[in-house]
């Protein structure tokens, strides 16, 4: 288990990370979300021991990173932000170097390196110096370094940054697969990534954790969650509004789009526990509307993200006022 305990970091007088605590069990992929400069990278750097925390610590499978860093680091694979790689080294010699540091030698080392090269689709560039590689390849070389020793814990700072959509897909499915028996933390600002790979997400804003939930639960916080989106043909917006506002359980009707032949509207429920879809459908057929499509909105992560992080920013502004 990866246990983060009350991590706090000051840079001078500025509090970059404020009392961050959470846990990641094996089998979990935790998405670490937040606006730029929210403290994501700083937190990850503290977890991996690159930056000493002002207070608090991280336990990696029981090993305290501030007390026995080497023991803790043997269990971790870390992909730093911007994926640094020694520019003059070839991909293969770089990975061999990392494997040696991880304690492999001889034929086991070669086997590990070969496997990783295969897994990360680096075959074509094996003997190329890193300085000649594109951003996407560098990213994958550094990612390869982090999984080479098959660590129990993975800390990945923006693992899909700079990859094209196909490579993103490959890396994500790899992470998802590894997440079955590893504990993984990955930071990202791409919300679709959270949906694609994460079993849980933490949103951090101004150094505070402002949300810690599954992607579905987070989406449920959206104002859109449970609303019914309906497209009908050849309808007049005023009449439709009138008709659907009497649907039992409907709170509010919003016209999203209107043109000659079709009308798109969204019906908000009074409470999300009462399903609205069948009632809306009944009302539509009662009034003789031709329904083109209907579905219940799940809510959108980006909306929730914006809502939560703005609250977080307001809170930290308040903190500043209180402390001054």
């Amino acid at each position: 288990m990866l246990e983060i305990k009350n991590l706090t970091k000051y840079f001078g007088l500025k509090k970059a990370v404020n009392d961050v605590s959470f846990q990641v069990e094996k089998g979990e992929v935790l998405g670490f979300l937040g606006p730029n400069a929210a403290g994501k990278s700083t937190t990850m750097r503290m977890i991996t021991g690159f930056i000493p925390p002002t207070s608090g610590t991280a336990l990696i499978g029981g090993s305290d990173i501030t007390v026995s860093p080497i023991e803790a680091l043997t269990k971790i694979g870390y992909l730093p932000e911007n994926a640094p790689v020694y520019p003059e080294m070839t991909v293969r010699s770089f990975l061999e170097f990392c494997a040696e540091i991880r304690g492999f030698s001889g034929s086991i080392k070669s086997k590990k390196v070969d496997e990783t090269i295969e897994k990360c689709f680096l075959k074509d560039v094996t003997y190329q110096p890193a300085s000649t590689l594109s951003k996407g390849f560098k990213q994958r070389v550094c990612f390869a370094q982090s999984i080479l020793h098959d660590p129990e814990y993975l800390v990945l700072d923006e693992p899909t940054d700079g990859l094209d959509p196909n490579q993103k897909h490959e890396v994500r499915s790899m992470i998802r697969e590894m997440g079955i028996n590893k504990a993984i933390i990955l930071s990202t600002h791409i919300l679709e990534e959270v949906d694609a790979v994460c079993t849980r997400a933490i949103i951090i804003a101004n150094g505070h954790i402002v949300a810690n939930d599954t992607p579905d639960q987070l989406r449920a916080r959206s104002g859109l969650h449970g609303a019914v989106r309906l497209i009908i043909q050849n309808a007049d917006s005023e009449n439709a509004k009138k008709h659907f506002s009497v649907v039992p359980g409907a709170k509010e009707i919003e016209i999203i789009e209107k043109n000659e032949s079709r009308l798109t509207l969204r019906i908000f429920p009074e409470s999300i526990t009462v399903p609205l879809t069948d009632k809306v459908l009944k009302c539509a057929s009662d009034n003789g509307y031709q329904v083109e499509s209907i579905y219940t909105e799940q809510g959108r992560l980006d909306e929730v993200f914006r809502m939560i992080t703005e609250v977080g920013e307001a809170r930290s502004r308040l903190d500043r006022i209180v402390t001054h």
Binding site: F50, P52, Y78, P84, M89, F97, C98, C142
Partner: protein, 247 residues
């Protein structure tokens, strides 16, 4: 302990292949050999002196090292910081001591290799006369130790900054001070008004003072101890600076 040795060796070999995998190494070696040859033969008149010793060769090391070694050392840490690989190396399961030592030894060995390539001069001296090999050996050991001391200063200044230029200038200035403080023309200028004990104290910290006695063929334990403890102190500071500057 075997683990420490192993890790230091891995880092050292990586650094060494890094030198020879880029033009840096070859440029350095060629320039070093050209300059030392020029000084030895054209300025110090190796042949005309008519002596079968290599004093005219070794007397140039303090001055040549002054510029050449900081240029090797400047990239040691500054480059890791610029490229960002410092984050990688410091989050691998390996201690800071092992990294500092591995990098330092690689650079030192590299300078040693460059020095060994001056061997034709030894052959010439042998051909021309009957040199004192003990003295030549001492001078090689002494200049190698002095090179290590220069290098440790450069490694330390390289940890301060991410700019190689700043690192280079800081190292040159620091080394210049350490050379001049024991160089007779400078110390003699102070003799008239500074107390002798002060001059002796300052010059006892100088590379020059210790180099000169070794160069004369006296391999004194105190001189070796001076260089090794100087290197140790500089590398220790190097570590402290790195730890302080990560946050």
């Amino acid at each position: 302990m075997p683990r420490t040795l192993r890790n230091t060796k891995i880092i050292m070999l990586r650094e060494l292949t890094g030198y020879f995998g880029s033009p840096v190494a070859y440029v350095f070696i060629v320039i070093f050999l050209m300059l030392i040859g020029f000084f030895t033969f054209s300025i110090s008149h190796f042949y005309e002196a008519g002596q079968a010793d290599m004093r005219s060769h070794f007397e140039w090391y303090p001055w040549l090292f002054l510029f050449l070694i900081p240029s090797v050392a400047m990239r040691l840490w500054a480059d890791e910081k610029r490229v960002g690989t410092i984050e990688l190396i410091m989050t691998l399961p390996i201690s800071l001591t092992e990294v500092i030592l591995g990098k330092f030894l690689a650079a030192w060995l590299f300078i040693g290799i460059a020095q060994l390539l001056t061997f034709p001069l030894v052959l010439s001296t042998m051909y021309l006369g009957d040199p004192d090999f003990g003295m030549i050996f001492c001078a090689y050991v002494g200049s190698f130790l002095m090179g290590g001391a220069y290098l440790s200063v450069g490694s330390m200044t390289s940890a301060i900054t991410r700019s190689q230029v700043v690192s280079f200038i800081l190292a040159v200035v620091a080394c210049l001070f350490l050379v001049l403080s024991g160089w007779p023309p400078v110390t003699e200028a102070f003799v008239d008004w500074a107390p002798t004990w002060l001059i002796n104290l300052i010059s006892s910290f100088s590379f020059m003072t210790h180099y000169q006695s070794i160069q004369r063929g006296v391999l004194d334990f105190r001189d070796i101890f001076y260089y090794l403890s100087f290197i140790f102190f500089m590398l220790y500071s190097n570590g402290v600076i790195l730890l302080m500057r990560r946050a």
